[in-house]
């Protein structure tokens, strides 16, 4: 086929990528978007088989071999992995993509015709692809390890900032040196490759486990850029444009993720991801997991049964109206929402009744303790809003606790528990609550009214 025709077909692939990404960014169309992008990729691979070459030895057997092996492994891995392990998987996949760029760059360096001037765009391009691909490769592997747990967070480098800066200078210096040489020195290239891979490791290692999603997104954009670099080597449009688009999208996504965590891009890129105390504990200590408004909202929206446990904090925040609004928004989405009223929630008998009546929550939506506890196992999500003592499992488990013997709402029987409060401070009884460190629990810190209205907005958006 003519190269121009191929390029025209590649344009279609690119359009499919763009449309796919676009659709991926809306919940309703995301699944389709993913498929569209996949079709684009398939088309690109097929087209490439017909790409006109100087030296068409083709070697289709090798190609199909690679495709089949990779495809099988990828598919099985994706299907077998547990839902909770998906981010790790993405990170690993991403590393493999980076590795491919790296390999291509290395081979192309090796393939460079005798006497190619080193100081050329071509060499620059190859070095770029090599460098970025290597970082994406090893960085992703480290991120994977951290998320999966086989690499410990506590493995800390001394003065990571300085090490990273040093590594960067060395790698860039070596690259320049290679280009200034009169002719190719493949050994040096291999050294460069090695150093780049090490840099990938030192880049990610200092970063706390809680920030890994951001890092993965960043490394993903690196992979995209590396792919674009590899594309430049061949002047291949779909690689260049596809890679750049992923690079740009990944960068923006990284920024968005930082924003969602209330961190700045600067803090992330320069500040070396100095893990925020709260989210990155050191494995053995009790760790509090923080929830995000977005994820909570989507989880709520796609639940079947939700139980709201209001407490004194709901009253303090005067969040009863917003709470009712959220409840109605969820009901609109087909979620069954009820309230579990603990007899001593709040600070006076019937405190919660007063509040919820004010917000016009219909009486049949209120469940009493026993009823609520019966329904707990069939409940997908519990929203604990400014309650504390009334959901404290110590009352059941810890005979030494001052509240031992008080009946509580057994929220841990439900699928997921989200606790809305401002801090880790205790409630009326003045005691710590083990629920907050529970397997199923996530904390959504902030004033209850704020958090609820954000949740409501996100439920509307999602």
């Amino acid at each position: 086929m003519e190269k121009e025709l191929i390029d025209f077909l590649y344009l279609i692939c690119i359009i499919l990528f763009i449309v796919g990404l676009k659709r991926l960014s809306h919940p309703d169309s995301a699944k389709k978007g993913n498929m569209i992008a996949g079709i684009g990729m398939g088309l690109a691979i097929v087209i490439t088989m017909f790409y006109p070459m100087e030296n068409e030895s083709n070697n289709y057997a090798w190609i199909f071999g690679g495709l089949i092996i990779g495809g099988t492994i990828g598919y099985i891995a994706a299907k077998k992995i547990k839902m909770t392990k998906m981010p790790e998987m993405v990170s690993l996949f991403n590393g493999l993509g980076g590795a491919c760029s790296m390999l291509i760059a290395a081979v192309e360096f090796y393939n460079l015709p005798e006497g190619t001037p080193m100081m050329s765009t071509q060499v620059l391009t190859i070095i770029f692809a090599l460098f970025v691909g290597s970082i994406a490769f090893t960085g992703s592997i480290v991120a994977w390890g951290k998320l999966d747990g086989f690499l410990r967070d506590s493995l800390v480098l001394p003065a990571p900032q300085i090490i990273n800066l040093g590594m960067l200078i060395v790698v860039l210096g070596l690259s320049a040196y290679i280009m200034f040489l009169p002719e190719m020195n493949f050994t040096l290239v291999l050294v460069l490759l090695g150093l780049s891979m090490v840099y990938g490791v030192t880049f990610v290692t200092p970063i706390g486990g809680g920030d890994m999603p951001v890092v993965i997104s960043l490394l993903n954009s690196f992979t995209g850029i590396a792919a674009a670099g590899a594309g430049l080597i061949y002047g291949n449009q779909v690689m260049i444009v596809g890679g750049i688009i992923v690079g740009a999208a990944g960068t923006i996504l990284t920024v968005l993720m930082c924003n969602a965590m209330n961190r700045s891009l600067f803090n992330v890129v320069i500040g070396g991801f100095s893990g925020s105390g709260k989210s990155s504990g050191s494995g053995r200590e009790e760790v509090v997991k923080e929830a995000s408004h977005g994820d909570t909202a989507i989880q709520l929206k796609y639940s079947n049964r939700v139980l709201i446990v209001p407490g004194y904090g709901l009253a303090v925040a005067q969040a009863q109206h917003v709470c009712h609004d959220l409840e109605k928004a969820l009901e609109n989405e087909g979620v069954d929402v009820k309230y579990a009223i603990h007899p001593v929630a709040g600070r006076m008998p019937g405190h919660m009744n007063v509040l919820l009546a004010e917000a016009d929550v219909p009486y049949p939506k209120l469940l009493e303790l026993e009823e609520a506890n019966e329904q707990m196992p069939n409940t997908d999500m519990v929203l604990v809003i400014g309650a504390n003592d009334v959901v404290n499992p110590s009352a059941k488990n810890d005979p030494g606790s001052p509240i031992y013997g008080m009946p509580i709402l057994d929220v841990e029987l439900a699928g997921t528990v989200i606790v809305l409060k401002r801090s880790m401070r205790p409630g009326y009884a003045g005691i710590q609550n083990p629920l907050f460190f529970g397997e199923k629990t996530k904390m959504l810190f902030g004033d209850a009214k704020d958090s609820l209205s954000k949740l409501k907005t996100e439920v509307g958006n999602a």
């Binding site: 009223i341 603990h342 007899p343 008998p349 019937g350 009744n353 009546a357 016009d360 009486y363």
Partner: protein
């Protein structure tokens, strides 16, 4: 014009409050008030004097006033002392009984009955039926809450849960709607009944539930007053009310039919089947009551149910009720009182409808 205020013999309210005295004087009138007229509505003689009223004995007020304002009709003793050209503004409720009207006619007085003012938009500011009914609706709920041996709102406490009280409001006119609103405020579960079709939307606009009985005769033409319903409808209605009533902790009835006895909505049988301690407040008691065994102006306990028959509940909120009544009176007076002079134009729709007797002739019903 000399405006007279008298002490109501049978009522806590007063027809003209001190604030209004000031206004009347500013508009060029004189005001003479019977000593102690405002006491039970918590307006002291001192305040009246400060407002510019001259305090006199009842006899003096009656004999010198040109315009007498009262809440309840005057009686024969009073008439004797009044000059015949005197104008009386009061509530004679001629639809319910013409006795008082006839007495006034005998003395050739000109009487405007505030309750006869037509319920047109323009006359809203003079509509004592509305302003008093509104207070009555509120008070009915407060009374019921006070008599009920239970809580109104729902309450979940360490010592167990208390379900909300069930309140049924019959007749969703001005009083009924206010009762609905007040009962809802207090946290009870409220249902309401009415035969007017518009009532459903109105009840729901207060967030309460409407108990629908199909087949009501519509009444758009009756200008806001209820009309008598068919027998079949009444039967259906009674069954539905029966079912709801026996489940209710409080029933407030306000259904009235102008010039007719109030419809019986709660039979003796229903009362017997109601839970012990339940409360019925019957605002329609003066025209016979909506409950079969209501006794007017009495609170009785029958079959374990407290039945309060009171059509003048507004008199139990005398301070605010007097304020609203005076404002109504003032808006009414303004129609014919210009610069301290009465200019009564009998072509005026409002004056024509509300003048029940003049010159010895009974104009009501003409």
């Amino acid at each position: 014009m000399k405006v007279g205020i008298i002490n109501e013999k049978l009522d806590n309210r007063v027809a003209i409050v001190p604030d209004l005295v000031k206004r009347l004087i500013a508009e060029g009138n004189e005001v003479i008030a019977e000593k102690g007229c405002g006491a039970s509505a918590l307006f002291s003689d001192k305040v009246y004097e400060e407002s510019g009223a001259v305090l006199e004995s009842r006899a003096d007020v009656l004999s010198s006033a040109e315009l007498i304002c009262s809440i309840m009709p005057l009686d024969k003793d009073d008439y004797k002392q009044l000059p015949t050209e005197a104008i009386v503004i009061s509530s004679y409720q001629p639809y319910n009984s013409l006795v008082k009207t006839k007495e006034a006619a005998d003395y050739k007085l000109t009487v405007f009955s505030m309750d006869m003012i037509p319920r047109i938009t323009l006359a809203q500011a003079m509509d004592v039926l509305s302003s008093m009914a509104s207070i009555a609706g509120y008070k009915a709920v407060i009374l019921a809450a006070n008599h009920l041996p239970k809580y109104f709102p729902m309450l979940t406490t360490a010592a167990g849960s208390i379900p909300p009280a069930k309140v049924l409001v019959m007749g969703a006119g001005v009083a009924g709607l206010q009762a609905v609103a007040t009962a809802k405020r207090l946290g009870s579960v409220v249902q309401a009944f009415d035969t007017r079709t518009a009532a459903k939307e109105e009840v729901e606009s207060l967030g309460a539930k409407f108990v629908e009985v199909e087949g009501a005769t519509d009444d758009k033409a009756a200008g806001g007053y209820a009309v008598e319903q068919t027998e079949e409808y009444k039967q259906k209605q009674r069954q539905r009310i029966f079912d709801e009533a026996v489940k209710s902790d409080v029933i407030i009835t306000t259904a009235q039919l102008r010039g007719k006895p109030a419809p019986i909505l709660i039979t003796k049988e229903m009362v017997e089947k109601m839970r012990n301690g339940s409360v019925i407040v019957d605002i329609a008691s003066s025209t016979g009551g909506n409950c079969e065994i209501t006794e007017d102006e009495k609170t009785v306990v029958k079959h374990g149910v407290t039945i309060i028959g009171n059509s003048e509940l507004a008199a139990d909120v005398p301070n605010h009720a007097s304020q609203l009544f005076s404002k109504n009176v003032h808006n009414f007076i303004k129609i014919f009182l210009k610069d301290g002079k009465a200019e009564i134009d009998m072509e005026n729709e409002i004056l024509k409808s509300s003048c029940i007797t003049s010159n010895g002739e009974i104009l009501f019903g003409k």
